[in-house]
């Protein structure tokens, strides 16, 4: 800012910002790449004046001043152009002359991102690093007690079941009375969670679908992927790849007319239908795809006109209770595919999850329950929802599993855990921990984006601008200038690599338990934690 201007309460200095650009005049070659690629125009060419005073005590040569002008990279302090720390500047700098550095203290900006009374809105994840899941250890390493397996040598076929597994006598009764039993899918325990076409760029979405198809058809790993709520491209609906896809229906109902039109032409049934009631990252909050992201392509897939904002309300507007939701939506979705497709709800982690689960246990059409914990990600939400609302996934899953055990139904209705799995990079360990706490499988999103597409977001509030369509990697942008930065094949390949390495790590964890086919779901005696309170809450071993 200009030094002679009056300051306002929200006038900030570089020191007040969360990220400071460290720029090296010596190294900089003034190539312009950093300012060309900054997603938020946080930096610009600055003209700087350098004064030199030439002192002298000689009356014949009086002291003098001289001024020189030089160019450099200047960081803006306007909150609208604040550096988000994505380091795309660093990425393109040929001389390593520029680097965003996180402030050494809590920024002051956070008190001012509410101009006009509008609280902060952003994308990303909860800005709290670490996870209780990272602290869970696998303490049961069978060497001579169980038939231990060698993850590198033995053959594994780690699969889980998605669908309602009724007791045999009930199944027989169903078959007799209805000529039908609930559909069950045998799938890989890692599911790519719902991220919509619209929240993700076309290249990102296609890359994930392509990678999933590859995993299934080339490697025989039955990974499934959820569409999120944004419709599904008509071609995919009419392809055999649909069987790898979980179609999501949520409160905005985007794209469902296209799905209905496609049903008579489908070659394959979808893997399942997920009814989204809540999202872990922003429980109780709805979605909003801003009008500038709704280009012609998004509009066509969602079945809306281009250039309008698309809100998804926090709730399904015509449904007021679990009973109603379960009764109406599960039944209707089951009917659409002739009861051949499992239908399950997804809720955000919540202290009321047990009420939902209890209800589902009484509904033979309910194929499972997905619970999305507080560490989930989102394309856009209020900061307060992301940072402060929601329920940790570990205890929610554990409670759910123990509830099922009490009912004697732990093998009947699968629980799927989501939200922050792999947030610190420990994807397989986190997944295995949740499985042993009682999950039948996990849904992952962010860590896949990080591993497969190089998402730079972090729990230290780095980047997290998925909401404004300026994703520097092109993951969450609808602008071809950005999303073409993503090479579809390369992202798909990274997904494949990630799943393969996940698979090896998961084998390493379950092999000492002698498991090669059935997952150790709910095998909580195999894990421990070095925190007595956590151990008590999760009902697992306290180990120090």
């Amino acid at each position: 800012m200009l030094a002679d201007r009056p300051i306002t309460p929200s006038t900030l200095s570089l020191k007040d910002l969360p990220w400071q650009i460290v720029w090296d005049r010596e190294k900089c070659t003034l190539c312009g790449r950093c300012t060309a690629v900054c997603p938020v125009q946080a930096i610009e060419l600055g003209v700087f004046r350098k004064r030199s005073v030439v002192p002298s005590l000689d009356p014949q040569r009086p002291p003098a001043n001289s001024f020189a002008t030089y160019y450099g990279i200047r960081q803006k302090t306007d909150p609208a152009c604040r550096c988000v720390g994505c380091a795309t500047c660093t990425l393109v700098c040929p001389n390593d002359a520029i680097l965003p550095v996180h402030s050494d203290e809590a920024d002051k900006l956070r008190f001012h991102i509410n101009a006009g009374g509008q609280p902060r809105n952003r994308g990303g994840r909860r800005n709290v690093p670490g996870s209780i899941l990272d602290r869970i250890k696998f303490t049961r390493i069978s060497m001579l007690t169980d038939p231990a397996l060698d993850a590198g040598r033995h053959e594994f076929e780690l699969r889980t079941l998605l669908g309602r597994v009724l007791p045999p006598e009930k199944n027989l009764q169903f078959l007799r009375e209805n000529g039908w039993i609930p559909p069950v899918r045998e799938i890989y325990p890692l599911i790519i969670g719902g991220m919509s076409f619209g929240a993700l760029s076309p290249n990102m979405w296609e890359a994930l679908q392509l990678g999933v198809a590859y995993l299934n058809e080339e490697l025989g790993i039955p990974v499934r992927i959820c569409t999120g709520e944004g419709g599904c491209p008509p071609r995919l609906l009419r392809s055999r790849f649909l069987k790898y896809v979980i179609l999501q229906i949520a409160s905005g109902y985007f794209g469902w007319d296209e799905i209905i039109h496609a049903i008579p032409e489908m070659k394959e049934d979808p893997c399942a239908i997920e009814i989204k009631y809540g999202q872990g990252a922003k429980p109780g909050d709805g979605g909003l795809l801003m009008w500038y992201k709704v280009n012609r392509l998004i509009a066509a897939i969602r079945g809306v006109p281009a250039g309008v904002s698309l809100p998804s309300p926090p709730t399904h507007q015509t449904q007021y209770s679990i009973e109603e939701s379960v009764a109406k939506m599960i039944l209707s979705m089951s009917m659409a595919w002739g009861f051949r497709v499992p239908v399950y709800p997804k809720i955000s982690g919540t202290s009321t999850a047990m009420a939902v689960l209890n209800n589902l246990t009484r509904n033979p059409y309910a194929a499972g329950l997905a619970i999305d914990g507080e560490d989930g990600g989102t394309g856009a939400a209020y900061n307060v929802s992301m940072d402060h609302m929601g329920h940790p996934i570990a205890s929610n899953i554990r409670d759910g599993y123990k509830t099922l055990v009490e009912l004697g139904q732990q093998n009947e209705i699968p629980l799927f855990a989501g939200g922050g799995i792999g947030k610190s990079g420990n994807l397989a360990a986190n997944a295995a921990a949740l499985i042993m706490l009682g999950a039948s499988g996990v849904q992952v999103g962010k860590s896949i984006m990080q591993a497969a597409a190089g998402c730079v977001g972090s729990e230290s509030d780095r980047c997290n601008i998925c909401n404004i369509g300026q994703c520097p990697k092109g993951i969450t942008s609808q602008d071809p200038r950005l999303y073409r930065r993503l090479d579809v094949d390369a992202v798909a390949q990274r997904l494949v690599d990630t799943v393969l390495s996940f698979d090896t790590e998961l084998k390493k964890i379950v092999a000492p338990l002698g498991r090669s086919t059935s997952l150790p779901i709910g095998m909580a005696d195999a894990i421990g934690i070095d925190d007595a309170h956590a151990a008590g809450r999760l009902d697992i071993r306290f180990v120090v």
């Binding site: 060309a36 690629v37 610009e44 040598r153 392809s239 392509l297 071809p480 798909a492």
Partner: protein, 781 residues
């Protein structure tokens, strides 16, 4: 004795059974070791399931030991076998034959079960049948010794060769257990060394670890050299010929570390093309919905793929000086002309905006342009426009257009009236000023002290005006009827009568007050005699003028009083203070007496003359009823049109203001009248003031506090919003994308080549004048 008899005579027979009971493995082992220690070199063991027979016979001191095993050998036959040992099992074997074999030659005349040769590092195992699972696993090859060998006549079981790190296995495929697969299920997982000859069909092996290679001559010769010995040992020499067909043999070797790969995977690009797109159609997932290319692009892009594009916004915004000048003079354009050495044009340009460029800009105006100058925002001295103003005394009148025949009556010959008439004449219309005074000029001519402006400057500019504008001197005050008639006779009427009626105070002795206007007019004509002591009520700028003039006329004790903090500022205030005038406030006047001013507190301020200078109000009694008057001033719209559409009003009659306000109002009213006369809706100027932060002031010397010349002023002007043609943008552009072009009109422009530009915005950052901006590119897709 023949050799065989001799052999038999030397042979030590050990039974694994004693008194009808099986000996423990430990006891049999002790007896075997004992026999060897006693010098026996040929042992015949009748085994009853004892384990580990034939191993560890180093007690022979390197002499060959031959162990013949009959009956049922237990597990680990020949385990930890030593190089001097030859073991021959006359029937089938149990698990782990030759476990950790360190050199023994072992022959099994039958099948062997699981784990043959596990961990073997030296020696040979020859099996006359097939073997079970996990044969030849974990084998080694120590370079100090020959590699271990495993020969199998039939087939091998599952998981053959796991973690095999060395040695050679030969699987002959004769009478295999599974004729469809002589290598078993999943062989060679984790194999890192050694080679395997085999003959017969297989069902796959770990491609990640092992590879099939052609049998080189050396390998073939090795195999053929040793095959007869193997067949002889297992007593099947008749098979020799059948096994010599090179085409039936295959060879597998471990992959070198560099050759290892996770799995033989199909390339993703191939899958994309041949599987994905084949199922979905060309363009993949959304090929039917969009034609926008989606192939990868670089992060740094040019052309249409730039996210930002530079735009050269020359003169798109007004400079702060121009924007803040009520007259609207484009000050920065005049400095640009000065920089180009066209001082005359810079001077003349002013006449397009004001009839008084010298008098007002050079002397009388508080110079709001300088107050707003961008350089002020960096605490630098504003460019001195008064120099240019004073030089404008030489401004030449442009050639005037022929008269259009449209006529406008202007009531009032002050600066507002002159300005509107001046501009109307420049537009080709005839504007006649009606004024009661003898000459044009109004207060400007009569009420401004000479100390503020040299008389010749004022006179020169009035002369220039008079040459252009007809003046009708009114002999009698106008009446509403006169104005109605004027409106009928003329195309438009402009009321510019100013505020000529001095305000006074309703206090005793008010008749003794001299109005400021009267005093200043008298002072100018030399007829005023204020005396020694003067009190001025109202300490505004006019009051200050009174004080200054009074001092010039001999007053020495001058007091300005006000009911509040005086509003005077600038040159007028400085001049009054310079002559020693005192300012007193708050002070309230009770009456005026012969002694002077009496305050409400009873204090007497002695005065020979008391001047009242608390402002003037317009005398609007002549206006017809069609013209609305609100609180003593004429009500006008943005175009200075009154409630009577033919009558316009400007200047102090509308709103009290500075000279420059009156001149600017005249100019804008004239523009509106021109439009109205042409039958068009009056235009409003849409250009906004440039954001001061766009200019880069770091180029200028901050230590300049005063300007020495017009040239220096021109050089130090930031030229806000107007390109100064410095070429910095072209020089700073990292892509050499910016070039200067001559325009057809003889000017210039700068343009960025989109095929080179990366949208870095360096041009915008470096431009001293704020011309370049960086804007979002047109949306794609």
């Amino acid at each position: 004795m023949n050799a065989v008899d001799q052999q038999n005579a030397d042979e030590m027979v050990l039974s694994g059974r004693e008194n009808g009971h099986r000996l423990p493995s430990r006891i049999l082992e002790e007896r075997i070791q004992q026999a060897v220690a006693e010098g026996h070199r040929r042992l015949r063991v009748e085994a009853f399931g004892q384990h580990g027979i034939g191993g560890r016979l180093w007690g022979a001191g390197g002499e060959p030991v031959h162990v013949i095993v009959e009956g049922h050998a237990g597990q680990r036959l020949g385990s930890l076998g030593f190089a001097n040992t030859r073991i021959e099992l006359m029937g089938p074997a149990s698990d782990d034959v030759g476990w950790l074999n360190a050199g023994a030659a072992i022959v099994v005349h039958g099948n062997a079960s699981n784990g043959v040769g596990n961990g073997m590092a030296q020696g040979r195992i020859r099996i006359g049948g097939s073997i079970g699972a996990r044969g030849m696993t974990m084998t080694k090859h120590n370079p100090r010794f020959a590699p271990p060998e495993l020969w199998v006549l039939g087939s091998v079981g599952d998981y053959f060769g796991e973690f095999m790190a060395g040695g050679i296995a030969v699987v002959c495929g004769v009478g295999p257990q599974n004729p469809g697969n002589v290598l078993g299920y999943r062989p060679f997982v984790g194999m890192v060394g050694g080679k395997v000859f085999f003959r017969g069909p297989h069902q796959g092996y770990s491609q990640a670890d092992a590879k099939r290679v052609p049998i080189a001559d050396g390998d073939w010769n090795w195999l053929m050299d040793r095959l007869p010995r193997f067949l002889a040992e297992i007593q099947r020499p008749e098979l020799g010929e059948a096994l010599c067909d090179r085409t039936q043999w295959q060879l597998i070797m471990a992959r070198a570390p560099m050759e290892r790969r996770g799995r033989p995977l199909r390339a993703m690009g191939d899958f994309h093309r041949t599987v994905w797109d084949a199922e979905l159609g060309a363009g993949g997932l959304v090929g039917d919905l969009t034609q926008v290319p989606r192939t990868p692009i670089a992060v740094v892009t040019t052309g249409d793929l730039r996210r930002w594009v530079p735009v050269w916004e020359n003169r798109q915004y007004t400079a702060p000086c121009e924007a803040s000048c009520p007259t609207g003079i484009p000050v920065q354009e005049r400095w640009a002309l000065v920089r180009q050495g066209r001082v005359d044009e810079a001077v003349d340009l002013a006449l397009a905006y004001t009839p008084f460029p010298a008098a007002v800009c050079g002397y009388l105006c508080p110079n709001l342009c300088m107050a707003a100058c961008t350089k002020q925002s960096a605490l630098m001295a504003p460019v001195d426009v008064t120099r240019l103003g004073r030089a404008s005394i030489a401004a030449r009148l442009p050639e005037l257009p022929p008269l259009s025949g449209r006529r406008i009556a202007v009531i009032g010959g002050g600066p507002a009236g002159i300005s509107v008439a001046w501009q109307l004449r420049r537009a080709g219309h005839e504007a006649t000023i009606f004024d009661a005074a003898e000459t044009l000029g109004g207060k400007m001519a009569r009420a401004i002290p000479q100390s503020r402006i040299p008389a010749e400057v004022l006179e020169a500019e009035f002369e220039r005006v008079r040459a252009v504008i007809p003046h009708t001197r009114l002999q009698e005050p106008l009446t509403p009827a006169d104005v109605r008639q004027m409106a009928a006779d003329y195309d438009a009427v402009v009321v510019a009568v100013g505020a000529a009626r001095p305000r006074s105070l309703p206090i005793p002795g008010a008749e003794r007050l001299v109005t400021a206007l009267d005093f200043l007019a008298a002072a100018k004509t030399g007829t005023a005699h204020p005396g020694e002591r003067v009190v001025v009520i109202g300490a505004g700028n006019v009051g200050c003028d009174v004080a200054t003039e009074a001092h010039r006329l001999g007053a020495r004790d001058i007091t300005l009083v006000d009911v509040q903090e005086p509003a005077s500022f600038g040159r007028e205030r400085q001049a009054a203070e310079a002559v020693g005038a005192r300012f007193r406030w708050p002070l309230f006047t009770r009456e005026i007496t012969g002694e002077g001013l009496v305050t409400t507190d009873g204090e007497i301020l002695p005065a020979d003359t008391v001047v009242i200078s608390i402002g003037d109000s317009p005398d609007l009694s002549f206006l017809p009823e069609t013209v609305s008057v609100v609180r003593g001033f004429v009500k006008v719209d943005d175009q200075f049109q009154t409630s009577d559409p033919k009558i316009f009003a400007i200047g102090d009659a509308v709103r009290p203001g500075l000279l420059t306000d009156a001149i600017g109002a005249g100019r804008r009213a004239a523009a509106a009248i021109v439009e109205v006369l042409a039958g068009r809706r009056p235009r409003t100027t849409a250009r906004r003031m440039i954001d001061k932060q766009r200019m880069a002031l770091a180029y200028f010397d901050p230590r300049v506090v005063a300007y020495e010349s017009l040239d220096q002023c021109g050089a130090e002007c930031a030229s806000c919003g107007s390109c100064r043609d410095c070429g910095i943008c072209a020089a700073v552009c990292p892509q050499t994308a910016i070039r200067r072009e001559e325009t057809a009109e003889g000017g210039w422009r700068y343009a960025a080549d989109s095929e080179r530009c990366i949208g870095c915005g360096f041009c915008a950052g470096a431009c001293p004048c704020g011309i370049w901006d960086l804007v979002e590119n047109e949306p794609l897709g």
